[in-house]
């Protein structure tokens, strides 16, 4: 199944109105930056929340330090608002 699993947590889930979605990708994959463009196109204004200050992205449950990571089908990408544990 040639898709990414994209997950939204906490306030971002509320903003996007969903907790996850499948994003089909071509076999060779795409950069995280390209996924952002794709999500903006798909969700319009609501996707602005993904670029809010403090929002971080995890690729396969590890924080991405830039928009450079290359994503391939099967990867799990999560958008995480600032954490408030403890």
């Amino acid at each position: 199944m040639s898709a990414l699993r994209v997950r939204y947590f906490a306030a971002l889930r509320d903003a996007l109105g969903r907790e996850e979605e499948r994003v089909p990708v071509a076999g060779e994959g795409l950069r995280l930056a390209a996924l952002r463009d794709l999500l903006l196109e798909r969700h319009g204004e609501a996707a602005g929340a993904l670029a809010a200050p403090g929002v971080r992205v995890a690729v396969n449950q590890a924080f991405a330090e830039s928009d450079d990571p290359w994503l391939v089908p099967g990867d799990e990408v999560a958008f995480l608002p600032p954490v408030t544990g403890g």
């Binding site: 997950r7 947590f9 509320d14 995890a58 449950q61 600032p82 954490v83 408030t84 544990g85 403890g86």
Partner: protein, 160 residues
């Protein structure tokens, strides 16, 4: 020393967790502990329910990383971190930290470090519900300052 980590909806018992820690570190001269509970009043007003969301898998790893960092910085004999998730009512327990060391300075420092880092690095999100509705809690500047203070002091961290 392998930290004991637990993330889940179950409540914890400080006395039992302390007894278990002492079994792992019977010779430790000092144990510092912390328990965080739901307050009935927050910046946003009265609180009826606190919901703790997490990211299964990534959350456990983020807590383990905080604990491992504490174990690198201080000579600990044992370390326990328990963090609850799910719906909690006022006064319910949220988080437990227990740190055992030969001396009190390391035990206190490590317990406080773990709490400061959990606040800013562990993958949890809190939502409050009260008479005024519900809202996601925002991260506190003072928590980030507390965590940053440890980072700044990394070079002269105690090496006892």
């Amino acid at each position: 020393m392998r930290p004991e980590i637990r993330v889940g909806p179950e409540d914890f018992d400080l006395g039992e967790a302390y007894a278990a820690l002492r079994r792992r570190a019977p010779a430790a001269g000092a144990v510092a502990a912390f328990v965080g509970c739901v307050r009935d009043l927050s910046d946003g007003g009265a609180v009826d329910v606190l919901e703790l969301e997490h990211y299964p898998g990534m959350t456990e790893r983020s807590v383990a990383e905080v604990a491992d960092e504490a174990a690198r910085r201080w000579p600990l004999d044992a370390l326990t971190v328990v963090h609850r998730v799910g719906r909690l009512g006022p006064a319910e327990q949220i988080v437990l930290v227990l740190a055992a060391s030969a001396h009190r300075e390391a035990a206190f420092d490590a317990a406080r470090f773990v709490m400061d880092y959990l606040k800013t690095r562990a993958v949890f999100w809190k939502r409050e519900r009260g008479p005024a509705g519900e809202r996601w809690i925002e991260s506190r500047a003072s928590d980030h300052a507390a965590a940053a203070a440890w980072r700044d002091s990394a070079e002269d961290a105690p090496e006892r």
